[in-house]
Amino acid sequence: MNDASMSAEMTANLSKSLDFDQAAKPKVVAKDVNVFYGEKQALFDVSIDIVEKSVTAFIGPSGCGKSTFLRCINRMNDTIEGCVVKGGISLDGDDIYAPSLDVVELRARVGMVFQKPNPFPKSIYENVSYGPRIHGLARGKTELDEIVESSLKRAGLWEEVKDRLNEPGTGLSGGQQQRLCIARAIAVSPEVILMDEPCSALDPIATARIEELIDELRANFTIIIVTHSMQQAARVSQRTAFFHLGILVELGATEQIFTNPSDKRTQDYITGRFG
């Protein structure tokens, strides 16, 4: 209840300062997030809200903390020893750093796609069915088959792999592997999908394919994408956040960020003066 009111207040603040559409519902709300790797501080007081069923892009020069922040949202930073997260992040009003929260549940709700395609060294079918299996989403083989097929269709991979579901996922091309990883992520019906530079290891054609896919998925999922490429952010996202040196400099509608940034640093970055 408290969290909900807090997020409402924050949304109000942000929309006031950033002139943003007030009707959109925030899915993820972060308030004063500070992240430390041992002695080194990687993020400083980041507060942001992520709108539901839209694509939010994080841009900024490398080492600016955008990936670090992304990994805070499904607590993947927990797996890094010496990493401490302070501040609050909530998902639909539930504090994800609360002691009572179950990381397994959180990560099922917040899926993730990584920079380098990382299919398991198993068959395509097993890659996609892995999540539904561990979470017990299917009551039988037919239902599992359905989930796998539907996920692969959604990821736009079904036509290419339907005849070789039992072949290893590592045998696919890079772009196919990344779509397999997206299928794997959506197979557990997440609410949010985090994408950490999902196209950086892919060629332009595969990249275009993924970008199309992201645009389609927006209808049903809340997507946060970290990207190096400003063109990509402009193409796929509705809102864009610019990070610099661990600070969230500016957040706003993508169009506004790219045409009329309010901060000098954002302007310098998008006009190519640094980065």
Binding site: N74, M76, T79, E81, V103, V104, E105, L106, R107, A108, G111, M112, F114, K116, N118, P119, F120, P121, K122, Y130, G131, I134, H135, C181, R184, A185, V188
Partner: protein, 460 residues
């Protein structure tokens, strides 16, 4: 004497180096600096290599061949009355008696023939030792003058010396091959001699192993006393028990270290595992005899089961402890070689650490772990001291872990400890067992190393 010879070679080599370097320095000083190819030091090294290496090789060969050759001369010089109809071992006995007399160790009054032979032996030894020094000196002087004559401003002393160095390095890397060839040929040769006395089928399929009987000359082999099956089953039983202890403990240790342990705990646990790996096997053997075997026996007595004092379970169990760190470190390596992204991918889907481990990491690391376990089996089969001290000597055909069984390595040691006669089947049987041991462990190692290597390449 041999020591003086090598000292002489060392001195000559040093002198050659200094001479060569001096000459090089004069060439350097005399000529136009830019036209001299190599630094004076390389001129010295070139000459030194020419002087030292041939003489050193000559000396080594001389040392190794001198004894056998003099022995041949000695036997040839003996009156035919002494050698006619004598067996090889009798002649050996005669030769060692002559050597004893020559060394001044007289136990009984020697015959004049033997005294004369001893004097001849002594004299030839003197001649051979002096001859070695003279020949070595001659070789070195010739080499020195030849090498020195080649020094000139345009002479590529550095290249020549580097060629010599390369040759030496190639020779050194061939030593490992030579070792393998030495192992194989000595095992095959002695085992072949054994199989001329005992049929191969008898050895490989016979059910009775009583090698001590064959000590008496009139009862040589062929009586089923060299059937190695009970020895093989004993080896397999103990190795199996060892792996039963080591595999689960080793793999669970690796799982904990990779998935659950904090960095601090890992920094404590890993060195302890290394200590476990560094303890000499003779210590484990004594531990088995001193503590484990009595404890198991006592426990058996408590619940009313008779346990042999040399029970297979005590030897196997302690051997298992020895192999734990081996399995755990190889499994640890294999699990760590699985890319981190696999682990992240699984965790990001909401898998628990145990699900990630069992469904993603372990299957991915399985080849590496299997390779490690195979290497562990090879170790268990080849392990000697623990079983020599804690397992039995009698070859009984049983699979009961509470009984006493014997192993291949125990038999090799018991057959060869003490004086060894290289023409009795008892001694040669040890080499036949050694050949089997070598071949089996070699197969296991080749397969395991191949699996591990293939697996590493997959993720590199």
């Amino acid at each position: 004497m041999a020591g003086y010879a090598f000292l002489l070679i060392a001195l000559m080599t040093t002198a050659a180096y200094l001479l060569g370097r001096g000459r090089g320095a004069r060439i350097w000083a005399g000529g136009d600096g830019s036209k001299v190819h190599s630094l004076p030091g390389y001129h010295g090294a070139f000459v030194a290599a020419w002087v030292g290496i041939p003489a050193f090789i000559l000396g080594l060969f001389w040392l190794f061949l001198q004894g056998p050759i003099i022995d041949q001369f000695l036997i040839a010089s003996l009156p035919t009355s002494m050698t006619d109809g004598a067996t090889a071992s009798q002649i050996n006995l005669l030769v060692s008696e002559i050597k004893n007399v020559a060394a001044g160790q007289v136990f009984k009054e020697p015959t004049p023939d033997i005294v004369a032979a001893a004097e001849r032996y002594e004299l030839w030894g003197q001649i051979a030792r002096w001859a070695m020094i003279v020949v070595a000196l001659a070789v070195m002087v010739v080499a020195l003058s030849f090498a020195r004559s080649r020094l000139a401003p345009r002479f590529r002393a550095r290249n020549a010396f580097e060629h010599v160095l390369s040759g030496l390095m190639i020779f050194c890397s061939v030593v490992a091959i030579a070792t393998t060839i030495g192992i194989v040929s000595s095992l095959v040769f002695e085992a072949w001699r054994f199989f001329t006395m005992v049929p191969v089928t008898e050895f490989l399929f016979g059910l009775r192993w009583e090698p001590q009987i064959a000590l008496r000359d009139d009862q040589v082999a062929g009586l089923g006393a060299f059937g190695a099956i009970p020895v093989f089953t004993g080896t397999i039983l103990i190795a199996f028990l060892a792996m039963l202890v080591a595999t689960p403990i080793g793999i669970f240790t690796a799982i904990y270290l990779v998935e659950y342990s904090s960095d601090r705990a890992r920094k404590i646990i890993k060195p302890i595992m290394e200590i476990l790996a560094g303890v000499p096997t003779v210590v484990y053997g004594f531990f088995a005899v001193l503590t484990v075997a009595p404890a198991i026996r006592e426990f058996g007595g408590l619940i009313g089961i008779a346990v042999s004092p040399n029970s297979a379970i005590a030897a196997g169990g302690v051997m298992g402890i020895m192999i734990i760190p081996f399995i755990s470190s190889l499994s640890d390596d294999a699990l760590n070689a699985v890319p981190r992204s696999m682990r992240d991918g699984s965790l990001a889907l909401g898998a628990t650490p145990s699900e990630t481990m069992i469904k993603v990491l372990l299957p991915a690391a399985l080849p590496g772990i299997v390779g490690g376990v195979l290497l562990g089996v090879s170790r268990a089969i080849g392990e000697t001291m623990i079983v020599v001290m804690a397992a039995g000597l009698i070859a009984s055909l049983t699979l009961n872990p509470l009984d006493s069984v014997t192993t291949v390595t125990v038999q090799i040691v018991t057959l060869l400890i003490g004086d060894t006669e290289f023409d009795s089947p008892k001694t040669l049987a040890a080499f036949a067992l050694g050949l089997v041991l070598f071949l089996v462990t070699l197969c296991l190692n080749v397969i395991a190393l191949r699996i591990v290597r293939k697996y590493r390449e997959q993720y590199d």
